[in-house]
Symmetry: C2
DNA sequence: CTGAAAGCGCTTACAG
DNA sequence: CTGAAAGCGCTTACAG
């Protein structure tokens, strides 16, 4: 028999299709005797319920859309891994949407939720690709949705984040304690609240230390390795160079380090380098990278749980889940050279 | 109106649901006049066809299952990115299945194709998670399927690969030309044909050069950074150390390099290190890693195209697509120390 | 070029 | 505990 259907199983086990369905969805409603008989037929025939029929009836796809700017990014990939694992446990599948940073693709993936292909959406972007009527409460207009590791401007939206400002402050305090006063910052995209928060932490730490902020030391970046390289090239051309640089991502730190090595500078002898993220490679660099650790697995898990609660129709008690960061001091930072 | 259906659009534009469907699926069959009227209604109402209804009728999900052992791996992630992009262009969505190396999860994801949730499957693993009757031709028993970047034992199965043996040989020849004769190999998992091919290339190159193979220099590994570290620890303990090491992945090379740095060895002064993959970070290491470049984007594209052809019911003319590798010589390899 | 009708494979409220 | 029936939202062969 090719591809048995629910009717085939019903016939094989001498019950109605309704009962077969119950055995699968709601076994408690069926007598044990019937249940074993039906299960035997299902196993024997290798029956897999066709999801379309069920989905059409229940209007649930069993899918979750994950929208991400770049899957090759280690931070994103680490979070997705945890998300996927949690989703699988809960019986959901992950639909992957790599936007490559393009808003129209974001839109396209958001539409899949509208067309019922996914029951909820996990967003790694700051942008909210849904048309909103701002005069009405936001939550009623949106599908089950969680922002993972990237905040957005709407307070009402469920999100899982770390305290980026405090993370940046902790990083800066470490550098300040080492005696650095000329500390450069290599930023992430300033459209993202995450990056703005880190910048706020940077400024705040310097202000607390009564160090005047030199805007020349604040270099734009996009979290990518190449922008770290470019930023370091710029910093090295300055007449009055910094003695430490705080990169808002490990990738940028890796780029910065490669430029320093290229020109023969010692790290941290000539310049200290601080990253952010603690990706898998951070500890393997030479020197091993001092950085701010983000708990990717926990962020992924918590995001999924927040979404799962919404999917069940529950109202999660908190809109924000803040995961703890930690400062990981390795070998790329050291005392000010003199 | 909440969530307009095809009937709503039909009523709004004064046609039958059948015609609305035609406008969307097969506009050529509809008069221009009707088409514009219907399109206007669709736009106005913000109608998105519900995929379940269509899927149930057509028995096509519009999804492609991608089964991958580890999404955080840079090689996999790079290929997926291209796959996702191609899939999107062709109107397909990607269902992501990270198996975390567990066969039961592989099985689970393969089942989604059986239950109709995906129309085809892209496999990054050597294993074939389908029950097969080996007395019958293989292809009739399988859904549309492509092996991406990892071969398996079945010749009949569509796959996109590079010539791993030749890649390994090219790597070895480079080291041999530099005068190395004691060259260690750090292997990938030997269940995978990919890794076995690379090992064959390693052996072949040494044989061609009339160098006796020292089995002590062949260290098992799993492509991960940690196994690269472990392998290098072992090699350094040898009484008669190698002067070069060929790691079957960049990740292992990165691990090996970190151990060499840790103990103060110069690269390539004391030991040359060769990788395989050319991940994004290879060029940023210090020293920049000499490695075998795999064209990830092309592999992803070709895999998707091979799958798309099957999905259209075409028979692709070739079962194998072999993508070109290239040897990228950077700074981590140099002449034998003396 | 268009419409009426059948049916894809399930689930579930209803009745018994 | 179980069955008959309705119906989820589409698509498409058929008829005109």
């Amino acid at each position: 028999m090719t591809k048995p259907g629910i009717k085939d199983i019903a016939r094989l086990s001498g019950v109605s299709p309704a009962t077969v369905s119950r055995v699968l969805r709601n076994p408690g409603l069926v007598s044990e005797d019937t249940r074993t008989r039906v299960m035997a037929a299902i196993d024997k025939a290798g029956y897999k319920p066709n999801r379309f029929g069920a989905s059409l009836r229940t209007q649930k796809s069993g899918n979750i859309m994950v929208v991400i700017p770049d899957i090759t990014n280690q931070v994103n990939a680490g979070i997705i891994r945890a998300i996927e694992s949690e989703a699988q446990k809960a019986g959901y599948c992950i639909l992957l949407g790599d936007t490559q940073g393009k808003p129209e693709r974001e839109q396209h993936y958001a539409d899949m939720v509208n067309s019922g292909q996914a029951d909820g959406i996990l967003l790694f972007t700051a942008n909210l690709p849904f048309s909103l009527d701002h005069s009405r409460p936001l939550l009623g207009q949106l599908p089950p949705l969680v922002n993972a590791n990237e905040a957005n401007e709407y307070d009402e939206i469920y999100k899982v984040v770390i305290d980026n400002r405090a993370g940046a402050q902790a990083a800066m305090e470490h550098l300040l304690e080492l005696g650095h006063t000329r500390i450069a910052a290599v930023l992430g995209p300033l459209e993202t609240p995450t990056s703005r928060e880190r910048l706020a932490g940077y400024r705040q730490a310097l202000e607390h230390a009564n160090i005047e902020i030199d805007e020349e030391l604040i270099i734009p970046g996009d979290y990518g390795t190449e922008s770290g390289r470019l930023a370091m090239e710029k910093l090295l051309k300055l007449r009055h160079r910094p003695t430490a640089v705080f990169c808002f991502s490990d990738d940028m730190a890796i780029g910065a380090v490669s430029v320093l090595h290229q020109y023969g500078f010692a790290i941290p002898g000539d310049m200290s380098v601080m990253g952010f993220d603690d990706i898998r490679y951070a500890t393997l660099l030479s020197p091993a990278l001092t950085t701010v650790h983000q708990p990717l697995e926990e962020i992924g898990k918590a995001s999924m749980q927040l979404l799962l609660q919404q999917l069940k129709g529950e109202e999660p008690e908190q809109r924000y889940i803040v995961q703890p960061f930690s400062l990981v001091i390795r070998q790329s930072t050291g005392p000010v050279p003199r």
